[in-house]
Symmetry: C3
Subunit: 380 residues, 3 copies
């Protein structure tokens, strides 16, 4: 057991090198011009997407990493294991998504694949928030491999089979990651967790470190929701909707936190997490043709629901459902992700032929079901 | 009183949703092509300004937020209230600036409006630095609404009526925010503050957190001063002037700090604040046709003046003028803002017809007078 | 001695102002169109390079600054002196590189010069890591002036005389900075250092601050290696190679750390430093036409070599070679820089006429020799 972690890590890296050797080539101007359909030329070789990639990259490595440092005993292992998961996951995500979309052929990669690779790691990082303190590094390596494979499968289903729209990934990343993590946490439940984890405390400075994570996620979220949107009006709208949704979410999250806490004080956990729910909930609808005030309403709702979730749902999960959700990912990613999926169904129902509503509902359903089944399988 | 904060916050958010519903629409390719003057087409729908927006966004939320964490007892409330003010302020700034420029009609918004909305919150965040520890969250909500309205009025006066130039907003944001905050601080003065606030101490780690704020402000300041500059030579110049001004400012601020402190030690407060004065002072002149060494001189002066201000002026303000300036915003934003305004008058006097000098002087005057009057009204 | 630091800093800033007055002008559309060779027009006046500049700027000021905060007693002086060195160094780097390339004539500067100015400061910041805790601020000012002059000379030799390729500067920045610093550290060696520096300890929170530095360096490294690459395929490849090399490096660094440490625990110093070795090693080859799996192999090797270096080489250096390397820059910048140079020789040997191999070898040799000689001269 002493060498389980280093040997598994080395073994996985060797496997990645072999898979890259077999399947992956870089996109170049030359191989692009050889392709018959020249529609995607602008996207793949130019650096238009590079600024979006960097923002997503900051969110994955600095944002998620520091967000989980709030527990005083887990600060370093949070940011450290986050780093490892994401670095391994992006290689594996490049492979799984590439192979699925190329149907097993060699494939070319560009900046867009880097964005999608980073996205795929986000699911594991979200799930990690639910199981933090309950798993070993070896278990996290296994979970990274299994969850990203399940994510790539679900994403293929949603995009290629259902043709559903989920530009900011409320369903395929946030809801998926949360329910996968909750399923694993349910399997790993031990009765000792009912009275609260002994190390589950924050101190003053660990809360400030977590705020670094919160702020960098919050600041760059408009790029997350618009990174792979169609350039032009849609991408423009995805940026602005997310910007306003997040702003409204902060105001209602602060208001609800003060409303529910003793003597009207603000709860630090709500400020660190619920303020981000507006970005999650806006994901699916971000590029749709909705008026600006709709994004303010959606963000406001997400902030309210998330704070109520932290206050009432998390204790209920721990004591009644026997699911111990360390960072409360259900309130930040799970519920707001579902709200985002439902909002898209409403938005489409009001404008576009009924079939699409079904597609969106199918996407929401598959994201949750595959996540839970995957998590239950991964858990043991 | 227990429910004053949550109810006011919810009420303000509902008001924002209503105002957005009435006034705000997104800019699209379609409504842009309908406009007769097609000069601004490139700016509004393309994403050319998006990288500048993101840098400003980092400065507002991470930069200002962490800069004020240096007080060990206020660390979390600084970054927390900063977050709330900015999130509410950007919605209100979008509305006030939009209505003023559209003369009360419906208006379309794009990335440039997001930059201006972020800018408008900067004034309140600067004023917050002067009143930190003396105000409640409810008072900060009121101040946000009043100050941004006053800012939008002054900005309209400066740009539309005076036709003055203030590209990096030395006058309309920095001097305005500082003098507004000082006026409020003067009104809120209690004699107990004369001997220093009991909680006004920093500890080792709180100073490192504040350095995060300093560095992210310093790094992205060239984008702040050039974000809304005319593309081409002017924007290019605004970036470079600010880059060099800030570099020179660091060197002179360190030198003066060592000169004035006991045994030649460096004072942490100077390093955190005075190193940024070069960015403030460069604001108004950033895009003007000045030689590179001029920006080095202006930055050097700003660093010197700012350190001397912290050493001699802040104690004088507290004991004699009965104005307690918690973070020393007068030395970082007030004085360097005035220097920036004066520098622009000198620069223009040497090159351009005399009328412009008057315009710049009017802009500087109105920024300070409206700020002080506004602050005195807001205070009680 | 009391006034040595402030007077020297003021004196250097006055000298910079004078040199800028004599030599430096801004690039404008007008002076560009006057030039006969219009090939570089796109690069110099447009803002295409500005996003790359900002990423490099974050790395220099926030990345390097926080990376060295891990020592609990040096946290503030690390980030503070880093700030001063970089601010002075970028002015001096602009001058030295400009004068060398213009052969002593007046020269025009643009965004690319800002990137190169930031690059030149990186060498001093790397060397600073080796001498941290052993030098005074006055000594650091002197070292900044001497080392950047030596760097500019070596860079001129490598690029203009040898025509070697070192796009991500494995040799000219990383190896150069490391060996210069080691040479200075060797000169400054005192026998007391053999049993370890008394202040050389980290605490929990100082390690989290250092992680901020690690992550921002890691995240933006693809921009560092591609900033001055030829736009198009080469720049695209430099980004992707660095992205994958760094990801592989993280996995192998964690694996080796666990392998070598007591009870398989991860060593924080390895996580903070060795995870970045993949970026250093990828530098020289980043834009070359190599397959993706090659960058994974190179990154994997760099991670392994760096961890072994920290474990076995640093103690050997301290006790046997009488060189005390405070931050272990030899393991992060020295060895991986040499690996990067050697990898480029191998890559070229397999594809391009033999003369180039010699050029690369000459570049690697000159970077190390000039660095060591420069450091030995600067030391006393």
């Amino acid at each position: 057991m002493r060498f389980a972690f280093p040997l598994m890590a080395i073994g996985l890296e060797v496997a990645m090198i072999a898979l890259f050797g077999i399947f992956v080539q870089y996109e170049t101007d030359q191989n692009l011009s050889q392709k018959s359909n020249s529609t995607s030329v602008d996207l793949d070789t130019s650096l238009d997407l590079y600024p979006f990639f960097r923002d997503v990259h900051v969110m994955i490595f600095a944002g998620f990493g520091f967000l989980m440092t709030f527990l005083k005993k887990y600060g370093f292992s949070s940011v450290g294991i986050n780093f490892l998961i994401a670095a391994l996951g992006l290689q594996w995500g490049t492979i799984t998504q590439g192979i699925l979309h190329s149907h097993g052929e060699k494939f070319h990669i560009g900046i867009k694949n880097m964005i999608n690779a980073d996205f795929s790691t986000a699911t594991v990082l979200i799930s990690f928030g639910a199981v933090l303190g309950k798993t070993s590094p070896v278990q996290m390596l296994i979970m990274t491999i299994l969850e990203i494979a399940a994510f790539a499968g679900n994403e293929y289903l949603v995009v290629e089979i259902f043709s559903a729209s989920d530009i900011g990934a409320s369903m395929t990343i946030h809801a998926f990651g949360a329910y996968f993590g909750l399923a694993v946490a349910g399997v790993l439940y031990r009765s000792g967790l009912r009275k609260g984890h002994p190390k589950e405390e924050s101190v003053y400075h660990s809360d400030l470190f977590a705020m670094i994570g919160t702020l960098f996620l919050w600041i760059f979220w408009p790029s997350f929701n618009s990174a792979i949107a169609e350039p032009g009006d849609k991408q423009h709208r995805a940026i602005m909707n997310t910007y306003f949704s997040l702003a409204a979410c902060v105001v209602t999250a602060y208001a609800c936190s003060s409303l529910l806490e003793h003597q009207g004080k603000l709860n630090i956990v709500h400020i660190q997490n619920a303020t981000l729910a507006g970005g999650v909930a806006m994901g699916t609808c971000a590029d749709m043709n909705i008026p600006p005030y709709f994004s303010l309403i959606l963000g406001s709702l997400a902030g309210i629901v998330s704070v109520f979730g932290f206050k009432f749902l998390t204790p209920f999960f721990t004591t009644k459902l026997r699911i111990h959700d360390t960072c409360g990912v259900h309130n930040l990613h799970g519920l707001p992700g579902v709200i985002g999926g439902l909002a898209s169904i409403v938005a489409i129902a009001m404008e576009i032929p009924i079939t699409s509503t079904t597609k969106q509902a199918a996407a929401l359903g598959s994201s949750i079901i595959i996540a839970i089944v995957g998590g239950l399988i991964t858990g043991p």
